[in-house]
């Protein structure tokens, strides 16, 4: 009996251990390391030495297309062609492809907003040793042998392509008759991973190149990784991996691939910022190194510097190198020469586009759960938001609303009357977002499966049959969105007459679009699957999710006759996704570490062009305690996408379920968010115009202050709010870094001033997290809280005028109808506010053809001396005197009820 008991206990222990492992960490064995990914192993091993590639001097042809020519690999005598182009806005593009076209290589051009075109050069010199081009302050030396591209801004060497000679281009080659250990040493022709065999019918075809940034100390970008904003050097670890996958319970501080891939970086140093965009949708690894640690011969570097007339000295200990490696595709790289951080984000947005204005509601608070049980549950939850007087813009439905996981259908019992449900929400200005995934249940009672099967709409396996994988519905196939016919068909499913139960108040969540395949290699689709156009899945993998949301966007646009802005949330993303969808950080966990990580993850996305980012408030897996829960709500206010979401196995956690105290904290947070929506909306407008991220790491605003370079536990909303989320339990004080030598930072709640440049310890309570308004900014907010943001459309604005050390401030307010594209026809209002010489002025920029009843309710001027008693307003109503009251504790002057319409220009002089 005793023995029995012991053995039995062992079983329990083992089971317990497995469960624990399951709960706490990703199953790493499911995902490849660089060594397990043949091409990464091959390319990473290439040693820093002289590149065998050189330009064939007499092949050069300069035309309006750009500079074309041929390259040769002296070792193999393989020939390649290149095209070097000088684009607008300090951007240079280099493409290299092989000459012998056995098979075309995939180019993910959908990532680009449009095909960029060549700008004329100012100077061209075609010398024997190098080709020299100049356009504005940018000079380019394309060195003939060994192949190297040097880019100078003014006279600073800022980018060197193929600096360490790691350029590799595996040309297509005939398949050997037999695959053996000799010709398949590093998975050239066949790669095994667990039970999966990847048949590489085209053999090795990887491309890679290294890029040095001599002036840079930090590299940013490459979302998505659960890692710091400033990239770590990866000499001793695996490189950063970009391979979209559905990773279960991802770990923090990791270079492992996640759901999205944006192959863009910013290289920043004290002097300037440059960027690089590696346009490739195949599996990609990026090694990040300091130049000093790369084994690079510094004499060579010196020579390079000396070659330049008036060459500058290299900054000591600076210089970074990145090595990009992709499994297939051509070499297509964009160099964005800055020179400022904002220039680089703008230059990137000119290539891949900025997010168009999101519908106003989507910037509000979203309540989600896997799953609200039925339509009554949805109704009750919405009613409770009213009962507790908490604003709510959107309720979300996860997969359980469908009829047996068949998308575009409703569960006939739990959701038998979706029209009424949607109507009920819409009556309060609210929306519904429902999930639609790209996998299709293989069920011949399902119209979509029948249509797709009969019309050949599915991705094929390597043998040419419809690929079958396992996902939520069980056996599933995957629509091939590379096929325009599929897009046409699929987007039509969203037409209101096709998708019964929906209305224009229903928006879409595209999940699982990496694509997720539960039983596939690395939980995604096998690389040897075949897409439309005979592309292998390996060619297009990282852009599949973008193709998918493009189809959805098209569908939502069509259903309103092109009139209403779609809202889409996508889990997978690529360069360009920002034009169609918001993203979130995926299936995070109810842990403080995940709350903390949500900041760098969304900052990285924002730098990668995707500002509309958030994390599941509360954490998807697990049950947050009250403190974590309320802190998450407080933090989430300051990330652009604000949605609470939770796993089906967690306890219910609507805001009122954790007691009155927690409910109040959450209510305050959500109200705070609603009050800030005019600022958010204005920032999204500015983003659309300039590509400037909505949330920014401190380094963007303070690029000369090296203390800011690594900070990612704080963020800026626009350039005017500084936020330090509280990401630990039971803290009474936090250290906040205040950037800027001549800045004044005003506590958002008390208006207390901080003039320190550096770290200051701030006392905090449970009620709020440290948020500071930057002196010099004017922030538009709406203080009237409504049940939903749609109901605030006519409500008045409050302006917070925070003075800088010179007693001046400025800011903008953008407004329009919040839902249509009429702003493209000029129906918007853009107000520019300035405070100068004790006078506040509102000027209407552009036409201002949007009609609104909104007015200015209150103006609070902070950091102003106690010397004014009244304000004289000049507006369309003539001159009036306004009451002004000074608060000596806050050093603030409140101007009571200017009452003037936002649609007219006005000025207020303080007396």
């Amino acid at each position: 009996m005793g023995v029995n008991y012991i053995i039995f206990n062992h079983f329990i222990l083992i089971f317990f251990f497995i469960s624990l492992y399951h709960i706490n960490a990703v199953d790493r064995s499911k995902f490849k390391t660089c060594d397990q990914s043949g091409f990464c192993k091959r390319l990473r091993a290439s040693k820093p030495e002289l590149s065998p590639f050189k330009i064939i001097r007499n092949s050069i042809n300069v035309s309006s297309i750009g500079v074309e020519g041929s390259l040769v690999n002296a070792d193999t005598e393989d020939f390649y062609s290149f095209l070097l182009q000088f684009l607008e806005d300090n951007t240079i593009r280099l493409r290299i492809n092989e000459n012998k076209i056995i098979r075309h290589r995939y180019q993910p051009l959908k990532a680009l907003i449009s095909e960029p075109y060549q700008h004329p050069f100012e100077t061209i010199e075609l010398l024997d040793d190098y080709l020299f081009f100049k356009i504005g302050s940018i000079k380019v030396k394309f060195i003939v042998s060994p192949l190297k591209l040097e880019i100078y801004n003014k006279d600073d060497l800022v980018i060197v392509a193929n600096d360490l000679g790691k350029f590799v281009f595996e040309h297509y080659r005939p398949k050997p008759e037999t695959i053996n250990e000799e010709n398949n040493k590093n998975g050239e022709w066949e790669e095994r991973f667990h039970e999966h065999i990847d048949a590489k019918r085209f053999g090795p075809m990887a491309v890679g190149m290294d890029f040095s940034f001599p002036g840079a100390t930090n590299i940013y970008g490459l979302p998505s990784h659960a890692d710091s904003v400033s990239l770590k050097t990866t000499g001793n670890t695996d490189p950063y991996r970009l391979y979209n996958t559905d990773i279960f319970e991802y770990e923090l501080n990791e270079r492992m691939a996640l759901y999205g891939a944006v192959p863009v970086i910013q290289a920043h140093g004290l002097n300037q910022t440059v960027g690089l965009f590696w346009l490739n949708a195949a599996e990609t690894w990026v090694n990040v190194q300091k130049l000093s640690e790369s084994g690079f011969n510094s004499n060579v570097m010196e020579k390079i510097v000396n070659l330049v007339a008036g060459g500058t000295k290299l900054v000591q200990n600076s210089g970074m190198n990145t090595h990009f490696m992709s499994e297939t595709g051509i070499l297509d790289v964009f160099f964005m020469c800055g020179p400022s951080f904002y220039d680089v984000t703008r230059q990137y947005s000119r290539l891949t586009g900025a997010a168009p204005l999101p519908p106003y509601f989507s910037l509000g608070y979203h309540q989600s759960r896997w799953n609200y049980n039925d339509q009554d549950d949805v109704k009750t939850v919405a009613e409770n938001f009213d009962k507790y007087d908490i604003p709510l813009d959107v309720i979300w439905l996860d997969i359980e609303y469908t009829h047996d996981k068949k998308y575009f259908t409703w569960d006939p019992l739990k959701f038998n009357d979706p029209e009424s449900m949607v109507h009920g929400l819409a009556a309060k200005g609210r929306k519904l977002v429902i999930i639609i995934d790209p996998h299709i249940k293989r069920d011949f009672g399902y119209f979509l499966h029948n249509d797709a099967t009969h019309r050949g709409f599915y991705v094929k396996n390597k043998d040419g049959n419809d690929y079958e994988g396992w996902c939520w519905p069980g056996s599933s196939s995957y629509l091939d969105f590379l096929n325009p016919e599929v897009n046409e068909y699929y987007s039509s499913r969203y037409l209101l007459e096709n998708f019964k139960g929906t209305s224009e108040d229903v928006h879409i969540w595209n999940d699982m679009n990496e694509p997720s395949v539960f039983n596939g290699p690395e939980v995604t689709m096998p690389k040897d699957c075949i897409h439309h156009g005979d592309w292998e899945h390996r060619d297009i993998h990282n852009i599949y999710g973008l193709f998918y949301v493009m189809a959805t966007y098209d569908g939502l646009l069509k259903r309103s006759g092109g009139k209403k802005r779609p809202f889409i949330l996508s889990r997978s993303f690529f360069s360009g996704t920002q034009r169609y969808a918001a993203i979130w950080t995926g299936d995070n966990m109810a842990e403080w570490g995940h709350l903390k990580m949500s900041i760098p993850m969304c900052l990285s996305s924002a730098l990668g062009g995707i500002s509309f980012c958030g994390a599941d408030v509360g954490g998807f897996f697990g049950n947050p305690d009250k403190q974590l829960f309320s802190r998450w709500y407080q933090t989430g206010v300051y990330l652009p996408f604000y949605r609470a979401h939770s796993h089906i196995d967690t306890k219910r956690r609507e805001p009122w379920l954790m007691g009155n105290e927690t409910m109040h904290l959450i209510r305050n947070a959500i109200r705070e968010r609603q009050s800030l929506m005019p600022l958010y909306y204005t920032l999204f407008y500015e983003h659309m115009q300039t590509g400037a991220p909505v949330i920014r790491p401190l380094v963007m605003e303070f690029p000369k202050e090296k203390e800011t370079f690594d900070i990612d536990d704080q963020l800026l909303l626009g350039k005017s709010l500084l936020i330090k989320p509280v990401v630990e339990a039971d803290v009474t004080h936090v250290d906040v870094y205040f950037p800027g030598a001549n800045e004044i930072w005003y506590n958002k709640y008390t208006y207390q001033q901080v003039k320190t440049n550096g770290v200051k310890t701030i006392k905090i309570s449970q009620n709020e997290i440290p948020v500071y308004i930057r002196g010099g900014s004017i922030i538009p907010i709406r203080n009237r809280i409504r049940r939903s943001s749609a109901l605030t459309l006519h409500d008045p604005f409050t302006l917070i005028v925070a003075l800088d050390i010179n007693g001046t401030a400025s800011g903008q307010l953008y407004l329009d109808d919040g839902e249509s594209f009429e702003y493209r026809n000029g129906k918007y209002l853009l107000l520019h506010f300035t405070f100068l010489n004790n006078q506040l002025m509102s000027k209407i920029v552009d036409d201002g053809r949007f009609k609104t009843k909104a007015w200015i309710e209150k103006i609070i001027i902070i950091g102003i001396p106690n010397m004014f008693r009244t304000g004289i307003i000049n507006s369309d109503r003539g001159q009036e005197e306004l009451e002004a009251k000074y608060n000596t504790d806050e050093y603030s002057l409140t101007i009571r009820k200017p009452g003037v319409s936002v649609a007219v220009e006005w000025s207020i002089s303080l007396l």
Binding site: D649, R786, R787, L791, E857
Partner: protein, 517 residues
Amino acid sequence: MLIMISKLITLFFLCFLLVLCYSDTIIRPRGVPLSMISLYPTEGTFTCFDGSLSIPFDQINDDYCDCEMDGSDEPGTSACPNGSFYCNNVGHKSMFIPSSQVNDGICDCCDGSDEYARQDVVCGNNCLELGQAAREEEARKIAMFKEGSKLRTELCFKGKQIKREKQLRLLELVKEQTEAENMKNEKEELKLKVEKMEKEALDVYKEFEDQKRKEKEEEERIKNEEEAMKYFKQADKNSDGVIDKNEIKMIDPFDQNQDNIISEEEIKTVFGEEEKLSFETFLSTSWEYIKQIFAARESLINNTLMKLLTEETYYDNEEEEEQDEDKDDAQQLETESERDSNTEDDSKPKYDEETKNIIEAANSARSEYDNAVRNLRDVQREIKQIEETLNKDYGKDDEFAYLVGECYEYANREYIYKLCPFDQVSQRPKDGGIETRLGTWGYWINDKYELMLFENGQNCWNGPQRQTHVKLNCNLQTEIVAASEPSRCEYLLEFNTPAACSWKESRDTGTDYHDEL
């Protein structure tokens, strides 16, 4: 007469108009109930309710929030985030709505008074219809409450009666227990007496039996020695007639802690202080112990398998255990009598008539004793049950006691739910399958007797133990009317019972329909 009536009607109409006009033109700020009108001056200054600020009276309801903390200066606008607006709702219930709902484009007051500034929104006044419907609903509720209260009174009576019966039964049982104890003692005494006689009679046959037993023992001793020798030879690898420590290390059953090493400690359990063991010492000191180890070893695999098999029915164990206890009692009794009859069987043919009679008498005394013991246990068990039942809380007036021992079922799309109040809640799939326990009786959530909790149900996969809340509604029927799983593994049943028609309803009903004019 007709003129009179028409005059009356006119007069009534005029009054009505007057009332309307009056209510419209009355000098009070918008959004303020009559009872608070005196707090809003029509000249001079107004002081925020919290005393924080005084403002000129004409800044009341001027769509700017001066009293930022309590919102008292803007009862009729949406300016203050924490304010409230009073809807008169003539013809229906008047009410307060949050200021955030004023002029937001949604008609919240049935008289439409909350959207006065929105030209783009037309709110009708449907207070009369709603009021009518509400009054009818209220009347229906009151009627039901009245009827339900009557039933409840009966149920209280019934509950008290049930409890009283239980108490009476308990008293009876206590008496019975004493009687049963006495009976048991009496029978025990008799049994002992007869058994003594039996022993004396049987002693005559004892010598014969002793002889027989000795023979049997000798037989067993030889068998044992042979077996010992077999193991000894097996262990004595070098056949030198003694076992040394190295030899013992080859025999893995001695590895008691299963760490694959036979340690000195483990050897000591066999060798004691000796260095080597001869067969004699082996037989006398170690064999009994060794035999156990080997026996245990052999049954190990079987037992493991057994355990794994029983594991599948793990969930049911708890319930079975209780039954097992009962079984154990019965088995104990059975084996006792079995053993007795066995000895009897062995010697039966040899007894003479008289002895046989004595044995028979002894057997019958034993059987009577066993019956007495069983009877006592039955009484004690029932006492325990009744005490447990009586210790549960059946409401303020025992109105819920009538539910004891009853079970109610409810079927939804997938499951059939079964509620046995004060006992347990379970669920089984409609298409058959195993029943899942959703909780056993826990407690009332508070002293209002509106919500029951059944806790410690079966564990959820990857989740907590199931639990069920049962919400009680006043109704004439006793039945489950809804079942849901609002959160994973947390269930909610809605249960109608007249017993719930208590003071709570009486407080809610007949609330103010004061049509404030």
